[in-house]
């Protein structure tokens, strides 16, 4: 059993084994991203249609924080008016969706104990939340190319020889967190793919179990 990887349970659903330290770190990352998205910070209640109308009435500026912009990206590269209209119509709902997914993941982490059990119906929202955590971490760590991502993985696995002298351990630590999130998401998504109908042929890209 690989630590952190999701596995199929015999009676349905998926399970990942995380120790208390791993769960604590992941909760902290979740909280940062929820705060970045403005969750629990006095956002209007979505049940009030008047509030939605008022929100929808004004233009919403694009985020200046690149990590938040990665979570709520522009929907047009060439047409600023299309991008602005898209943001006006969708941004609040997207924030709500993402915060909701993240808070469900947080609840799983807090209440799970060493075995985090995920029902198939919860898995898509969890996979989306794991994506958002990885997007923010990657942006903070300056990962903008596939080579950057490979380098981050190398740092997580091997460490940095210069680390002892510089005392620069934060990047290695975040690289390890990123690797754990990647392992959780990839293992969960392969199980979700296995459970889709009409998928009988083995996938050559599937990692060995």
């Amino acid at each position: 059993m690989a630590a952190g990887a999701f596995e199929a349970r015999v009676d349905g659903g998926y399970v990942a084994h995380l120790d208390a330290a791993e769960r604590g770190v992941l909760v902290a990352v979740v909280d940062e991203v929820v705060e970045l998205l403005g969750g629990d910070l006095g956002m209007p209640d979505g049940d009030d249609p008047l509030e939605m109308v008022r929100l929808g009435a004004s233009l919403v500026p694009a985020p200046t924080d690149p990590a938040l912009l990665r979570l709520l990206p522009d929907a047009s590269r060439a047409d600023a008016a299309v991008a602005a209209e898209f943001r006006r119509l969708t941004e609040e709902e997207l924030r709500r969706t993402k915060v909701g997914n993240l808070l469900r993941l947080r609840a799983e982490l807090v209440h799970a104990g060493p075995a985090m059990v995920v029902q198939p119906g919860e898995a898509p929202g969890l996979a989306a939340a794991l994506t958002d955590l990885r997007l923010v971490l990657a942006e903070r760590l300056g990962v903008s190319t596939e080579a950057d991502a490979d380098e981050l993985h190398r740092l997580a696995v091997q460490g940095d020889p210069a680390e002892a002298e510089t005392g620069e351990v934060t990047r290695r630590f975040l690289a390890l967190v990123y690797d754990l999130l990647t392992l959780l998401q990839d293992s969960l998504v392969w199980l979700m793919l296995d459970d889709l109908p009409g998928d009988d042929e083995p996938d050559p890209r599937r990692p060995p179990r």
Partner: protein, 102 residues
């Protein structure tokens, strides 16, 4: 071969393109990034768009190797719905007029 065709082949094709663009004036593009996993992109394409596995994986590989892929066609409103869904999954999608750029 039928001999009753009166419209030159080239014109027929041009009409077909125009009709396609009239019915589907916008497209949704999904862009590559170094974070999203190939497994996840395939899963999103299969479950959200309902693509068969081979088509989903073809589009996923197109995103991965060419940097972008066109995943849907339709009205601006339909494409905004698709782009919003992609952003909800954490994929970066944009909308653009059909044939706008490659």
């Amino acid at each position: 071969m039928p001999t009753t065709a009166t419209v030159p082949l080239e014109d027929t094709r041009a009409d077909a393109v125009e009709q396609t663009e009239a019915a589907h004036p916008w497209v949704t593009i999904v862009w590559n990034d170094p974070v999203n996993l190939m497994s996840y992109v395939s899963w999103v394409f299969r479950t959200y768009f309902g693509f068969p596995r081979t088509r989903a994986e073809h589009l996923m590989m197109q995103v991965h190797t060419q940097g972008r892929a066109t995943v849907s066609h339709g009205t601006l409103e339909q494409m905004e719905t698709d782009a919003q869904a992609m952003h909800g999954f954490g994929l970066w999608a944009t909308v653009e007029p059909t044939g706008a750029g490659h």
